[in-house]
């Protein structure tokens, strides 16, 4: 990833978000230049997906960990934020219960479960957004990397992890709203969620967090740590004989990536207004991987590009040609792996010198 492409990407993300917000807020609704609030939230959603994509690229592109369960961290961050937003509803729910969210009243619950305690404090909720995905990644990664589970095996068990969470969150007994998830949010930090200005603010906030994420990721992969990480990706056992502990490197980057995904999820929820168990579906995680592959694995900027492009395509297809969307997505998966292994940025990158080395060409069939 060259410095120029990073700068361009940051400019476009921050500038684009600010522009959309301004056109929504300042330009009157009748004008041709007015951007509807719907579009603002749509791009807010894309950018939070881009945060997930960058997180996936960090582990897949630079550490060779193909996580098929990264949407789980995204969803956990989202649920932590959702729980806070649920507590913010207060007595404005259908049942008007000051203590219990609607779905708990509906299930005849008498008191708030212990794990819901504290979520009425925004600071606590924000800490949980970081801690819950991070902790899960820490425990899971510590187990997996220590016992040297790699490659497709790791992919399969990350998929099983998110599948298990999917099943768990579907259960009403879990206390997360079961099938319906958490929704009907009213406001955030005391500001009405449905106001245009809030939506604009959320888009800009997401853009800022995405930019921050890109800068942190960029620092990590260009540091000596990042060089070790790439060495681990390509020749893990060789790094051991040099005295490195690959598991420590992978664990750090895996946890960092999970936290980043969690922040993405936390920004996603207020903008789409709902979080439900389907976010844990293994298909979501694989889709996030394809965003990265489309943009170009191991480029960070490509992850942003891929996430935005694929989701623009999804919005277009599901609106205009819903029958064809899965064909299109399926074709994208196949074409990217067969024809465009470097992704879109891979096309451009062949000429330009790189700051971060690319993955080696795959070895021919053995």
């Amino acid at each position: 990833m060259s410095r120029a492409s990073l700068t361009l990407c940051l400019t476009m993300v921050l500038g684009g978000a600010a522009l959309l917000a301004l056109l929504n807020l300042v330009v009157p609704a009748g004008s041709a230049l007015h951007v509807p609030t719907y579009t603002v939230s749509l791009f807010g959603k894309y950018l939070s997906y881009a945060m997930l994509a960058v997180a996936v690229d960090l582990v897949w592109g630079f550490a060779g960990i193909l996580s098929l369960g990264h949407a789980a961290f995204f969803a956990l961050g989202g649920y932590a934020m959702g729980m806070y937003l649920m507590r913010q509803i207060g007595t404005r729910g259908v049942y008007g219960n000051a203590i219990l969210p609607d779905f708990m009243v509906f299930l005849n619950w008498k008191s708030l479960p212990w794990y819901w305690q504290g979520f009425d404090h925004p600071a606590f909720a924000i800490v949980m957004v970081l801690v819950v995905p991070g902790l899960l990644a820490l425990v899971f990664g510590w187990l997996a990397f220590r016992s040297r589970v790699t490659g497709v095996y790791l992919s399969i068990i990350t998929q099983a992890l998110t599948y298990a969470l999917l099943l768990a969150f579907f259960r009403n007994d879990m206390g997360f709203g079961g099938n319906n998830g958490l929704t009907d949010f009213k406001d955030m930090f005391g500001i009405p969620l449905h106001a245009d200005a809030t939506r604009d603010g959320l888009l800009v906030a997401t853009a800022i967090f995405l930019a921050l994420e890109l800068l942190i990721a960029r620092y990590v992969v260009t540091s000596r740590f990042g060089k070790v990480l790439i060495a681990v990706r390509d020749a893990e056992s060789r790094t051991r004989f040099l005295g490195y502990r690959p598991e420590a490197y992978k664990l750090f980057v895996f946890v960092l990536s999970a936290v980043m995904a969690g922040v993405g999820g936390a920004l996603y929820v207020p903008q789409v207004g709902i979080i439900n168990p389907s976010e844990f579906s293994p298909a979501n995680s694989i889709e996030a991987v394809i965003w990265v592959a489309v943009g170009g694995r191991g480029t960070l900027v490509g992850a942003v590009l891929g996430a935005v492009l694929v989701n623009l395509g999804k919005t277009f297809f599901t609106g205009a040609l819903p029958e064809l969307w899965l064909f299109a997505l399926g074709a994208v998966f196949i074409m990217v792996t067969l024809v465009l292994p470097g992704g879109l940025l891979g096309l451009a990158r062949r000429r330009a010198p790189r700051a971060v080395p690319a993955a080696p060409a795959p070895e021919p069939a053995e």
Binding site: L66, L68, F140, L143, A144, R146, S147, R148, V149, G151, V152, Y153, S155, I156, I157, Q159, A160, L161, Y163, A164, L167, A168, F170, R171, P282, A283, I286, V289, I290, A293, E323, W325, L326, F327, L329, G330, A331, V332, F333, I334, V336, T337, L338, P341, P362, E363, P364, A365, E366
Partner: protein
Amino acid sequence: MNLIRVLLLMFALCPFAAQAQDDPFAGLAGNYEAIRHAVEALAVSGNPNAAATVAALQAGTLFAAPDQSLWIRQGDTLTNARTGVTGTPEGDLRRVRVNNAVRRAIEEATGALTLFAPVPAKRIKAAADLFAQHDAAMLPMLERALAKETDPAVRGAIEQAYAAALLAAGVAPVTDRLAAIDVLRRRGDLDASNLLASLTNQPPQVAAAAARAVAAIARVQRLWALAQGVFYGLSLGSVLLLAAAGLAITFGVMGVINMAHGEMVMLGAYTTFLVQQAIGAYAPALAGAGVVLAVPAAFVVAGAVGIAVERLLIRFLYGRPLETLLATWGLSLALQQAVRSIFGASNRDVTSPGWMSGAAQWGGLTITFNRLYIIVFAALVVAALMAVLRFTPLGLRMRAVTQNRRMAAAMGIRTPWIDALTFGLGSGVAGMAGVALSQIDNVSPNLGQGYIIDSFMVVVFGGVGNLWGTLVSALTLGIVNKFLEPVAGAVLAKIFVLVLLILFIQRKPRGLFPLKGRAVEA
């Protein structure tokens, strides 16, 4: 001649004579109270015509003549209820009416009267009903039935009913009661146990024997429950095995991560649907064989799709497992959407043939036939697969190619074709699994999605490249899952199993039965 005349006379006089000795039919011509008593008397009378009479009373086809004779009307013919002889009564017939009290008496009596029905199965059913009622009043009739009964199975059932009634009566000698308890203990089911537990006011030795019998029954019941759990577990395990067997070839032997494996299963299920439709349209007589015909059809369809996929997609991605994973996932999306576009998003109706439905009771074990057939089918599929790998030239070449591709190529094996055929074989097996799954699961475009993660977990848990490992792993996971279900509930059990698997793979990344040696390191 004289003798015949005497006999005829006796026959003619018989009803009157019987009435004199308390004719059970007599009250039927009287008021409701008398009718009820008559029904109760008929129930225990053992009279061969009692059953038909009570049935007629229930159906409203029993009539009384002014001379107190009783007639059953069937269409235009009238039959004398007492004698069973057709005839013509004198005077106007009056329908014998029933009220609620009589209706209740009829219901109880019908149960008892069936004890003398000509079909043994009906007699067993009647005995079972009487067992449930365990009414002391039935003792005389049960005794009579026991005396007449020759069929050992029916005798056993009547003995149990008798024992139950005897214990309920609470007046029999202690030795008889102990014998009755013994009969119930041998019956060994929950009903017997409940009956024994409900006994009160018994002499100490009887009470002690009953308690011992209850404990013994509980032990037996636990064993049956265990066996039932194992059966359910085997059934789930064989479903997992079927879903994973094809994957054991494509992933286990070839190392290809085929995320579209579930869609091969789905194609097999839709092939079953199409075969069923075709048979329904062109050869309805073969309806029962539809499932059997669908097996080869599904194998061919899924196998052909598999070969096409290998030639057009997977062969470009050998040695790049993660890319294969993504490309085949894309393929699975496209296949799902294709099926959705053709067949619609809703479930398609695949009916199970008659011979696959139903269940057999064996002691405390309920064996449903469709589960049993799936277990058998899974066993056959795996056996066939092992035979193909071990004994056929194709299997030999497959093993050669997977063990040392270059050497195999050097020996003149066309490795690309072997790759395609191996992949086709794995996909074909997945298609056959789809036939089985169409019998127990919804045939929808999402069918395969539900199995893909489980299948991969089964193969990884068993040890990649090892069909025996897949077998053991599928059955183990099935049984563990089914034993967790009563404790934790179905969903939580599945989550537990997934978490256990994740933890297991951390400890033994190469599965239960890893391939060892230096080749693995390379």
